[in-house]
């Protein structure tokens, strides 16, 4: 029986392990090894040790990009997830039209990121954009939102964190697993809705909140699309992120440096994930059962 089990386990695991090795372990090893090479992708590689890392870590634009990625991660974890949680908790109470609202909130997730970025680029346009037109109506002077150092990064982040649909759906699903009797008991005890959410819902979905927060922060660390499409890292590198540096290094055929950027990106992403899970999961292991 034991042997049969082992055979079954192998039968199911080997194909996945094979694919995982081919499409993750091998590329990862390749990225790590070539990150210590000077290589343009066409001619022979030359070993340069940690020179690529030194070059990146002492580069001001790269340092700024790491900072921006951390801002992205924090915005995801501490703005997007609270917003998503708030909406999910409201919708979990099934107010009138909640199904339609759920669909509306989720809708941006099925629209291409390119289309959304282009739409926001038009909204932010200082001469013809909707935002400045609206501000002008209420007597506020317009702004070059994506063209000024102080506003470019917050403008891109703002349009991104508003799209809460994906996380909202996950949190909403988690709330359905909480037994109704908890709320009924709390109701009898005279708890207000806010107290019920605070003392029952949030602790019960803590595990899911940690998971969504981890996901949102991981997405922040690897953020690329909206910045590439809306500002290409400008103005003056103020919105640059590590993914964009990697892209530009590849564009310039500096594949060794590109892969060193990728390695740092993987490392920092892992650090953030481990950190957030350690900080938030420790206090309530029992809540994981809701996941």
């Amino acid at each position: 029986m034991k042997n049969k089990n082992i055979k079954m386990i192998l039968l199911f695991l080997v194909p996945v392990a094979f694919l995982y090795t081919c499409f993750f372990i091998y590329p990862l090893g390749f990225v790590l090894s070539t990150s210590m090479m000077k290589w343009n992708g066409i001619s022979a590689m030359k070993f340069v040790g940690i020179d690529n890392y030194k070059k990146l870590l002492t580069n001001e634009t790269f340092q700024l990009s790491v900072k921006n990625n951390i801002i992205w991660a924090l915005s995801g974890g501490f703005i997007q997830i609270p917003l998503a949680s708030m909406v999910a908790l409201i919708l979990a109470r099934k107010p009138k039209g909640w199904r339609m609202l759920r669909t509306i909130y989720f809708l941006p997730n099925i629209i291409s990121a390119v289309a959304i970025a282009m739409m926001w680029k038009a909204i932010y346009n200082p001469m013809y954009g909707f935002l400045n037109a609206f501000l002008n109506i209420i007597g506020v002077e317009g702004h070059n939102w994506l063209g000024e150092i102080g506003t470019a990064l917050p403008s891109i982040i703002a349009q991104q964190v508003l799209y809460i649909g994906y996380f909202m759906i996950i949190i909403l699903a988690a709330t359905t697993t909480i037994p109704k009797s908890f709320y009924e008991a709390a109701d009898i005890d005279g708890c207000s809705i806010l107290q019920q959410e605070w003392y029952i819902t949030l602790p019960m979905i803590r595990g899911i909140l940690v998971t969504t927060m981890t996901l949102a922060m991981a997405y922040g660390m690897r953020h690329f699309e909206a910045t590439f499409l809306m500002t290409n890292g400008g103005p003056a590198h103020s919105t640059s992120v590590m993914g964009l540096i990697l892209y530009h290094k590849m564009d310039a055929f500096r594949l060794g440096e590109a892969n060193a950027t990728g390695t740092i990106l993987i490392f920092l992403g892992t650090v953030v994930i481990v950190l957030i899970r350690t900080l938030l999961s420790r206090r309530d292991a029992g809540a994981d059962s809701v996941q």
């Binding site: 992708g41 066409i42 070059n144 063209g147």
Partner: protein
């Protein structure tokens, strides 16, 4: 059946099968994939599509060229770079030859056209163009589209502002800019966005040439020319000399303002003629082209360069396919075919063709501007590596926002160039 008869029968069968398969192989159509940017809204799209159709009809059953539409220019270059780095080369493609893409020449996967050119084909090209595409004695990309990028002046707007001729000097420019602003017109189209801040990079190249002369690129980012040209460019970003959305704006922004008749001066190549003619006929009718206002002692210079080169996969393991690719590129470089694209799209070419049939007034002005140039130099993006090109827009944004001086702007570019 005797053993010898059996063997004979076997041999006969093998021969028949062999001959049949050879016949089938010979009949098999060669399909050439061409990821192509000349599609969709591109002004060359209709002419190129017609030529491909004609080629396919002429070679029906033996060669078929399939266009893979790639309407995003920057994305196209990225796709080609990634493909070459991954060791996969499209059967036919186009490329911009610059210090970064010269690395393609190191790849054995690209076809070397040298032999074909030496056998007489080379005479079809304008003098010096093949030499520009030669690296270490190899011609792995064929010069095709060439361009000059003069300044486009909307004379209606200038005249309405009280300026009768386009500005020839920097002082004239400042005077014209003041009058244009007073008349409610934005003087210049600029942009710091996109992958190379194209319009502003061209303005800068004009000023660098005007100040530093034809040998200005011999010592990149050294000497006064680069800083002084940056000062002039900064002036164009100051005091309302360009649109509010220039910082962060892309080619759609800079071109869009000119097409909409909102800016009076703009820079782009002849491939834009078709777009202006179709989308903004009034602007088209009012446009004059000429050198940029002289910012230094070298007036009348033009920015001229190989815009697009043809390249093909070597296909060493499949000589028939390689030969088919050569046949197609030869078709595309035939004088009458090039003349047709030129006529329809307004583009200029490295191939010798009869330009006397060109009846487009603006295209004629381009040819005139090219002939009248005191000298021609490439644009900056054509002489520096790709990372300097992408740094240009960032450094320009920094300078335009008052976060860097013109000297610091040049220093930023130099630093990346020295890496």
């Amino acid at each position: 059946m005797k053993k010898s008869n059996f063997l004979l029968l076997g041999l006969a069968l093998v021969s028949i099968i062999g001959l049949t398969s050879c016949k089938e192989e010979a009949k098999e159509e060669i399909v050439l994939k061409w990821p192509c940017i000349w599609v969709g809204e591109d002004s060359k799209a209709p002419a190129v599509a017609t030529l491909v159709e004609q080629f396919n009809a002429d070679n029906a059953g033996s060669i078929k060229v399939e266009i893979e539409a790639q309407p995003d220019y920057d994305g196209y270059e990225q796709k080609i770079r990634t493909s070459v780095a991954a060791g996969i080369v499209p059967d036919i493609f186009t490329m911009k030859l610059n210090p970064t893409t010269k690395a393609y020449y190191e790849s054995d996967l690209l076809m070397d056209f040298t032999k074909e050119l030496d056998m007489g084909w080379g005479k079809d090209f304008n003098e010096g163009t093949v030499a520009q595409a030669t690296v270490n004695g190899m011609v792995k990309s064929l010069p095709y589209e060439v361009a000059i990028t003069p300044v486009w002046y909307n004379m209606d707007l200038l005249k309405k502002a009280g300026v009768s001729t386009y500005p020839k000097t920097y002082a004239d420019f400042m005077d014209a800019a003041a009058k244009l602003k007073a008349a409610g017109t934005i003087p210049t189209s600029q942009m710091t966005g996109g992958s190379n801040a194209w319009t502003s990079m061209l303005w800068y190249s004009h000023f660098v040439a005007s100040i530093g002369g034809k040998d200005v690129y011999n010592n990149l980012f050294e000497g006064d020319a680069y800083v002084k040209a940056a000062e002039v460019l900064l002036a164009m970003y100051s005091d309302g000399n360009t649109s509010m959305d220039a910082i962060g704006g892309d080619a759609g922004v800079s071109g869009g303002h000119f097409l909409a008749g909102e800016t009076a001066m703009f820079i782009n190549g002849p491939w834009y003629i078709g777009r202006v003619r179709g989308d903004a006929p009034e602007v088209y009718a009012a446009t004059e082209v000429g050198p940029a206002p002289a910012a230094g002692s070298h007036s009348g210079a033009q920015i001229g360069f190989l815009q697009t080169n043809f390249a093909a996969a070597a296909n060493a393991e499949n000589p028939a396919k390689a030969a088919a690719a050569v046949q197609f590129v030869k078709w595309m470089t035939k004088a009458e075919n090039v003349a047709e694209i030129s006529k329809q799209a307004g583009s200029l070419f490295a191939v010798k063709y009869d330009s006397s049939t060109i009846d487009d007034p603006l295209q004629k002005k381009f040819i005139e501007a090219s002939n009248n140039a005191s000298f021609t130099v490439p644009h900056l993006a054509g002489v520096v590596p790709a990372d300097v090109v992408s740094e240009f827009g960032q450094a320009l944004g920094k300078m335009a926002l008052g976060e860097a001086t013109p000297a610091e702007f040049v220093e930023m570019l130099k630093k990346v160039n020295d890496q």
